[in-house]
């Protein structure tokens, strides 16, 4: 699939997008506002499409594109003052209460130590499994397991989660 996309096959690249866009979004949303993250997902994939020939190992596509996402998030953060136009999002939603709650939870994750942020976003926001997180972050499975355990324990305390 990666090889076909590298030859310019847009359908193949579309499949890669469907498979990895959540991971890319997770990487971005752990650093930027949700609106900026959604917008930047497109840029990350277009940027990756132009540079696919540079990718030597097709199996590393996930971690490669997430690395691109991290770089672009950093560049974007430097260029733009981070703002959270929450009001617009809330106003556009059918359930503004849920949106507000979601952003509060995301803010709580972002307030955690950096080591836990991306791992928790990928798991709790985007729904990736532990092995999938390890694959796209380049962390070892054990590190992911520890980050999930410790990060979630801290998050639970801060959110005051009740069943």
């Amino acid at each position: 699939m990666v090889a076909a996309a590298a030859r310019g096959d847009r359908d193949a690249f579309g499949l890669l997008y469907r498979r990895f866009s959540r991971a890319v979004h997770g990487v971005l949303v752990a650093r930027l506002t949700r609106e900026d993250a959604e917008d930047l997902v497109q840029d990350v994939f277009m940027h990756a499409f132009t540079r696919l020939r540079d990718l030597r190992q097709p199996a590393a596509f996930g971690s490669w594109i997430c690395a691109i996402a991290r770089r672009q998030a950093t560049d974007h953060y430097r260029r733009n003052r981070p703002t959270e136009p929450l009001a617009d999002t809330v106003a556009a939603s059918d359930r503004p209460d849920l949106v507000v709650e979601a952003h509060r939870a995301l803010a709580a994750i972002r307030a955690l130590p950096e080591a836990y942020r991306e791992t928790l976003v990928l798991r709790l926001v985007e729904g990736l499994s532990g092995p999938e997180i390890a694959a796209v972050t380049g962390l070892t499975p054990d590190s992911v397991r520890v980050n999930l355990h410790r990060g979630f324990r801290l998050l639970r305390e801060r959110l005051g989660v009740t069943i």
Binding site: S21, A37, M46, S93, R145, H149, F152
Partner: protein, 341 residues
């Protein structure tokens, strides 16, 4: 109620969302659900592709090919420049005694006193040092054909050019550069050449002789040019070879050659055999002992005058390839630089 069971359940579900859910984790997931990215709802926007220039990396071999082409053109241009020289243009003299001419013109005889020394450029193909008490005349010069006469004295020559570009007429015969560095001394009777790199050809009306790097030879007008003898050969071997060439057909001279010869001297032995010098059969057998001939070549064939067989044998010797001026590219460098390497 302890938290341990919750933690265990949390960990399992956190690791694998396909397992039965943990209530606490599920509660957080539900809170964050509005933020989840849905690729189906946000398909790839190819209209943005125009903003990203497709960068096609040029293959490495293309750069290598371009670099090779540039190198070939550069070397070719340099060679063409070196080998071009207007007919009759005087050679520049780099270092000369006070009051001496600054160039060597065609037809002008240079008579250098014993106390002086001179450096001049051999057109653009090399350099020459002229020792004291030397008489030299530039007969003609053009492109890659430069002819001189050395009546007496010593010159040290370093050239990088196609074989035959430079030659000296001496009283004993002609000395032709085959792309190399050599020293040449001439007097009214004989010419002696010592080759530093490449090959030099000695040629008079009787025969010719090829002298490789590391060897020396001498030529007299009334004899065939001497065979090449490596300068690190024993003095007795050298003296005996010259005596044999001078016509000393006796067993003692032959014995001295055979005893002192080394594998490196097989080239000398084969040249003596080729000339049919006295004792050629013994010299050929000694050569075979020191450096066995290749398959299909026998001493018998050599002695029957099979010159092709002899050259096949000679080609197995560790000698610089004839007319290998391209391989002697270091001769194109200034001597101070090449000598330092």
């Amino acid at each position: 109620m302890t938290t341990a069971p919750h933690d265990d359940l949390d960990d399992v579900y956190l690791w694998d969302p396909e397992t039965p859910p943990s209530a606490e984790v599920r509660a957080v997931e539900r809170r964050l659900a509005p933020l989840r990215f849905e690729p189906e709802a946000t398909p790839l926007d190819w209209t943005r592709a125009g903003a990203f220039v497709v960068r096609r990396r040029r293959p490495t071999w293309l750069y290598a090919l371009a670099a090779a082409a540039v190198l070939v053109v550069a070397v070719g241009s340099l060679a063409a420049w070196r080998w071009s020289w207007p007919a009759g243009r005087p050679w520049p003299i780099d270092a000369a005694p006070a009051g001496a001419a600054r160039s060597l013109a065609v037809g002008a005889a240079l008579d250098l006193p014993a106390t002086d020394r001179m450096h001049l450029r051999v057109a653009r193909i090399g350099t020459m040092q002229i020792d004291g008490d030397t008489r030299l005349t530039l007969r003609s010069t053009q492109g890659t054909r430069h002819r001189l006469t050395l009546d007496r004295g010593t010159v040290h020559v370093r050239v990088w050019a196609p074989p035959g570009s430079l030659s000296f007429q001496t009283p004993a015969g002609e000395v032709i550069d085959l792309g190399c560095e050599f020293d040449l001394t001439a007097d009214g009777v004989r010419s002696v050449v010592r080759v530093r790199s490449g090959w030099v050809q000695l040629d008079n009306s009787l025969d010719e002789s090829l002298v490789p790097a590391g060897a020396m030879s001498e030529m007299r007008a009334d004899r065939v040019p001497g065979v090449a003898v490596f300068e690190d050969a024993s003095p007795d071997f050298m003296a005996a070879v010259r005596a044999l060439e001078a016509g000393a057909a006796d067993g003692d001279v032959l014995r001295r050659i055979i005893v002192a010869a080394r594998p490196r001297d097989v080239y000398t032995l084969l040249m003596l055999v080729e000339r049919g010098e006295f004792g050629s059969d013994l010299l050929a057998r000694r050569a075979a002992d020191l450096w066995p001939p290749p398959a299909g070549v026998t001493v018998g064939a050599i002695l029957r005058g099979n010159r092709d067989a002899l050259w096949q044998w000679r080609d197995t010797l560790p000698l610089p390839p004839p007319k290998s001026w391209l391989r002697n590219w270091r001769d194109a460098l200034p001597s101070w630089f090449a000598d330092r390497r």
